[in-house]
C-alpha cells in the first residue's frame, strides 16, 4: 500500500500550490493536510484529559489561540469546537481514536480535510497585506504567534493564525471555493508592496 503521507502530499489543492513574491512579502498556498472538526465539552476535565492523550497536547483552551505539538495543531473555533490539523497522519487513521476520547453522545468528529486550503503570508510586509483586507486588528500588540482568529478577508470567511513574530508569518485558511477569490485579492494587495 502506498504511504498515506505521500498520497496526501500529491493531492490536488485549489491553487495548485502556487506562490507569488513582491517586496517584503511572499504568499504561497500550503501543501494540503488532513483536518478534523472536534465538537466536545471542553469544560469537562476528563474529556480534555482524554483528548490531550490522543492529540499529544492540551488542546487550546483559550479563545482565539491555537496549540501545537509534534505533528498536530489544534485551533480554538468556539467554546465546544476545535479544528485539528494532522501534519503527518490521515484523518482516516486518526478519527476513530479521537471519537473514542469523547463520551458517547457528547460530541462529534468530522473529517473536513478537503473543505479548506491554507495560504501563507510571510515577510516584513505580511502584516500590512493582512490588515488591508480584514477588519480584525492584526497589530502585534494584540495578534502574536500562538493566536488565531476567525474573521473576514474581503468577502471570504477565514481563519487567521500568527506563526512567527520575528519574520511576520501568517496562515490564512479559506474554504476551497473561495480560494481563487482570496488569492486574487492577496496577490493584488501584495503587488503594491
Amino acid at each position: 500500500m502506498a504511504d498515506q503521507a505521500t498520497l496526501r502530499a500529491g493531492m490536488a489543492t485549489p491553487l495548485s500550490g502556487q506562490s507569488y513574491s513582491s517586496n517584503g512579502i511572499t504568499i504561497s498556498e500550503q501543501q494540503s493536510c488532513d483536518k478534523l472538526i472536534v465538537r466536545a465539552d471542553f469544560s469537562d476535565a476528563a474529556t480534555v484529559a482524554a483528548l490531550s492523550q490522543v492529540l499529544g497536547q492540551t488542546p487550546a483552551l483559550e479563545a482565539n489561540t491555537y496549540s501545537m505539538a509534534d505533528d498536530k495543531a489544534v485551533y480554538w473555533l468556539g467554546p465546544d469546537e476545535r479544528l485539528v490539523y494532522l501534519h503527518a497522519q490521515t484523518a482516516a487513521d486518526t478519527i476513530g481514536s479521537v471519537q473514542a476520547a469523547i463520551p458517547a453522545g457528547k460530541g462529534a468528529v468530522v473529517d473536513v480535510s478537503d473543505y479548506y486550503t491554507v495560504i501563507q503570508l510571510s515577510g516584513q510586509n505580511a502584516r500590512d497585506v493582512l490588515s488591508s483586507g480584514t477588519p480584525f486588528d492584526v497589530h502585534p500588540r494584540v495578534f502574536g504567534a500562538g493566536q488565531c482568529a476567525q474573521t473576514r478577508y474581503g468577502s471570504a470567511t477565514v481563519l487567521l493564525s500568527a506563526l512567527d513574530d520575528d519574520t511576520p508569518t501568517f496562515n490564512v485558511q479559506v474554504r476551497w471555493s473561495f480560494a481563487q477569490y482570496l488569492w486574487t485579492y492577496l496577490a493584488r494587495v501584495a503587488g503594491y508592496c
Partner: protein, 96 residues
C-alpha cells in the same frame, strides 16, 4: 462601522455579525391547542420598540455562536451582550 463584543471571542467588527430580531421569545409548549391568533402572535408579532431592545445576534464570520444583545434602536448603541441562558443585564438608567 462599530465594534461588537462577542461573549466568546471578544471585541470584533460589526461586519462579522448578523442580527436576527427580538430575543427571549419562547416557543409555546401547548402547540396542539394553540389558536390561529396565538400562533400568529408567536410567529409574526414583535415589539419593534423605539429605544431599548433585546435581540439575537450571531457571530457569523467568527465563532458562529448565537448570543443576545441589548441595543438602543434609536442611537444604535449596544449596552450589553450576553450568552444565551445567562441572566438578562438590566436596562441602563439613562439610555441616550
Amino acid at each position: 462601522m462599530f465594534i461588537i463584543t462577542c461573549p466568546y471571542c471578544g471585541d470584533r467588527d460589526q461586519t462579522e455579525f448578523t442580527c436576527h430580531g427580538e430575543a427571549h421569545i419562547a416557543r409555546p409548549l401547548n402547540t396542539e391547542s394553540l389558536s390561529d391568533e396565538e400562533w400568529g402572535d408567536y410567529v409574526f408579532f414583535r415589539q419593534n420598540p423605539k429605544g431599548m431592545h433585546r435581540e439575537r445576534w450571531v457571530h457569523a464570520h467568527g465563532c458562529r455562536r448565537w448570543f443576545n444583545a441589548l441595543r438602543n434602536t434609536v442611537s444604535d448603541e449596544i449596552f450589553a451582550t450576553y450568552k444565551v441562558g445567562d441572566a438578562r443585564p438590566p436596562l441602563p438608567e439613562n439610555p441616550s
